[in-house]
């Protein structure tokens, strides 16, 4: 049996091809001739034939389980790849969110400080002006009476005066009328038009005769300012003097609210929601992966 174990590779290929019927006619005839004269080769052929038969008769192994795919097994690797991406995105969104909250807090404090400063000024001015409210009304009425007699053709001059007085005079000394003017100063043109529409003040006449009201009631106030202030006071004479500081505070607060705050709020909410959503997704992916 030992000589069979050392069969040349070429003979092995011949025998193997013979068993599978892969030999050409010529090669087959030559092999059959050899098999008749070489018992060792014949025995090797029989043994190889037995090996092939045994391999073919090996039983089929039963399936340990079904190999059908679930959506999870089919996509498990993509989730694994998605996990670090979502993890990073969540961290990034959280950092941006914290930065936005910090920025909002900082700008909020600035805004509060500004409001507090302006409101304290307004309250102070209101307190100072309150006792003077009554006499000023009297002055306005006087002015109205005098102005009624005047020609209303001084509209251009009136607009010019109002335009000059457009910048806010915060901190300027004066009564509640000045405070009102300061509060409404971002839109000076409508105020000037109101004054003109009311025909309560005749600019030219007032400029020409500034001494009468200003010397009586507001000695240190420049004449033009005094005229404008009086006109505005007349317009708001329906309101009691005590409400002036409240309206002023509200308008000042609106005026001093920094513009970026609403945008910051929106961004804060958006990024907060993003952090929650991304965090939830990341945890879900992690759970599914494990």
């Amino acid at each position: 049996m030992k000589e069979i174990n050392h069969l040349p590779a070429r003979d092995l290929e011949l025998l193997s091809a013979y068993l599978d019927g892969e030999l050409s006619e010529r090669a087959l005839a030559r092999l059959l001739s050899r098999l008749e004269h070489e018992p060792g080769l014949k025995r090797a052929l029989d043994e190889m034939k037995a090996v092939v038969q045994q391999l073919g008769s090996l039983p089929e192994a039963p399936l340990p389980r079904s190999f059908t795919l679930t959506p999870e097994t089919a996509g498990i690797r993509s989730r694994s790849r998605a996990y670090p991406v979502f993890q990073f995105a969540t961290a990034l969104a959280a950092v941006v969110f914290v930065a936005l909250v910090g920025l909002d807090t900082f700008t909020g404090q600035l805004s509060m400080a500004s409001r507090a400063a302006v409101m304290s000024d307004a309250a102070e001015e209101a307190l100072v002006a309150a006792p003077q409210a009554e006499p000023e009304l009297g002055v306005s009425e006087t002015f109205a009476q005098t102005d009624d007699q005047r020609d209303g053709a001084d509209v251009l001059a009136e607009e010019e005066i109002s335009g000059i007085l457009a910048p806010p005079a915060i901190g300027a000394q004066g009564g509640p009328e000045e405070a009102l003017r300061a509060a409404t100063s971002p839109s000076p043109q409508p105020m000037a038009e109101k004054a003109v529409g009311g025909e309560t003040v005749a600019g030219e006449g007032a400029v020409e005769q500034p001494a009468e009201p200003s010397t009586d009631e507001h000695a240190e106030t420049p004449p033009t300012e005094s005229m404008n202030a009086v006109a505005e006071t007349q317009e708001s004479d329906a309101e009691p003097p005590g409400d002036v500081d409240l309206a002023y505070a509200q308008e000042t607060a609106e005026r001093w609210s920094p513009a970026p705050v609403p945008i910051l709020r929106v961004l804060e909410i958006s990024f907060g929601a993003l952090v929650v959503i991304l965090g939830g997704l990341t945890l879900w992916i992690r759970y599914k992966r494990t």
């Binding site: 590779a9 043994e47 037995a50 090996v51 073919g56 090996l58 389980r65 079904s66 190999f67 498990i76």
Partner: protein, 203 residues
């Protein structure tokens, strides 16, 4: 739905269609892996990996024999699994000893269903165990061809497609595999069939 329609549906991402293909081929795929790996757990892992890879790569299937394409993925998965096992030699030894126990039990169950004489059954069992042992000792390249042609019954052409080699390589590897198996069984001479040994004595 025929196989071609299922393949087209699977290419569109239809998992149910692909699973019908899995059901059709899972037994053959697992048995190829099982004979290649000689270990049910590793064979199951390789088979599952192969089906997952096949689902993800089915868009690359350009027609021809789907069975050959699928079994090529199974063979590649088996090579990958063998490489993983080489990196874990200690656990592989444990698995091999477990396999021996499992083989005895599995073969014992089929043994009880046979109605032949006990001596013949013992002989058959020993011969099968020897064949499986010798098959497992073959180099992977030889083993793949022997399993495809002699165990699974593929012709040279399809075996060549599965291992992505020329037919000449298949012929050569198959002859060497058969020669080594014959030598391996000869070393266990008593395990050859008594009929064969009887013939041998008469020669």
């Amino acid at each position: 739905m025929d196989e071609e329609s299922l393949i087209h549906a699977a290419k569109r991402g239809d998992l149910d269609a692909f699973n019908r293909l899995v059901i059709e081929y899972q037994s053959r795929a697992y048995n190829l892996a099982y004979r290649f790996m000689s270990d049910p757990a590793s064979a199951a892992d390789a088979t599952q990996d192969a089906f997952i890879s096949a689902f993800r790569g089915i868009g690359k299937f350009r027609g021809g024999s789907f069975r050959s394409w699928l079994l090529r993925i199974v063979v590649n998965a088996c090579y990958d699994e063998l490489r993983r096992r080489k990196r874990r030699p200690a656990s592989s030894l444990d698995e091999l000893s477990d396999d021996g126990d499992r083989l005895t039990v599995e073969t014992g169950t089929s043994f009880s269903h046979e109605s032949k004489k006990p001596e013949q059954e013992v002989e058959r069992f020993e011969l099968r165990a020897a064949i499986e042992q010798c098959l497992d000792e073959l180099p992977p390249d030889f083993k793949a061809v022997a399993v495809l042609v002699d165990v699974q019954g593929f012709d040279y052409k399809e075996a060549a497609r599965v291992i992505s080699k020329p037919i000449g390589t298949v012929k050569s590897r198959l002859a060497r595999a058969r020669g080594r198996l014959r030598e391996c069984l000869n070393r266990r001479g008593e395990l050859l069939p008594s009929r064969f040994r009887l013939d041998d004595e008469t020669i």
